[in-house]
Symmetry: C2
Subunit: 116 residues, 2 copies
């Protein structure tokens, strides 16, 4: 599997995972976060490899549909770029170290809210 | 109806409206954005006032369930507070007007992404 696809699914799972069923969440976590193979997951659940594959594919499709409708991952990327740009601008500004410290702190808090 | 409840539903509708069915979206828009009464909407659709009421209540419940799971409105409020704090800090900082201009511009772009 391509790394880029894995990363994209991991982001979608991060943003929309809570909208999946418990079983879908479990299987995606095992497959994408714990890096288990389809066969290993099938063994855990005592079901066929094909059944695991179907559940994973179905869950991925649901995540992609949520992204099509809400676009949270896309917005998050845009926001992160702009926050990084703010931090860069502040690097160039050396007049008031205390102010810069406070602004950096606040920007980092925003990033934390997004990652929550 | 209390203003606060209307505002809360309007925010939820803004964030999660695209996850509702077309019919639910239409009725919520008529009720909350166009400010039509349940009776007026019933007239438009040629259905009972009670049927409109049920659809609106059901849609509100779905929106609230999405917020319970994803908390986007809550995150948005937190982010907006912190961005406002950044803007206030920059007001106090007068040394480099051009930098301040660029930072304000970037912060406002973030707010636009959130409102998209």
């Amino acid at each position: 599997m391509m790394v880029k696809k894995v990363e994209q699914i991991a982001m979608l799972f991060d943003f929309y995972g809570r909208l999946l069923t418990d079983k879908q969440q479990e299987m995606l976590a095992l497959y994408y976060e714990q890096d288990l193979s389809l066969g290993e997951i099938a063994g855990e659940y005592n079901i066929s490899r094909q059944a695991v594959r179907d559940t994973v594919k179905r869950a991925e499709k649901i995540l992609e549909e949520y992204e099509e409708k809400l676009g949270l991952v896309k917005k998050f990327d845009l926001e992160r770029d702009k926050l990084a740009r703010i931090l860069n601008m502040l690097e160039e500004q050396k007049d008031d170290p205390e102010l810069i410290y406070k602004i950096r702190k606040t920007v980092n808090e925003i990033v934390e809210i997004q990652n929550d």
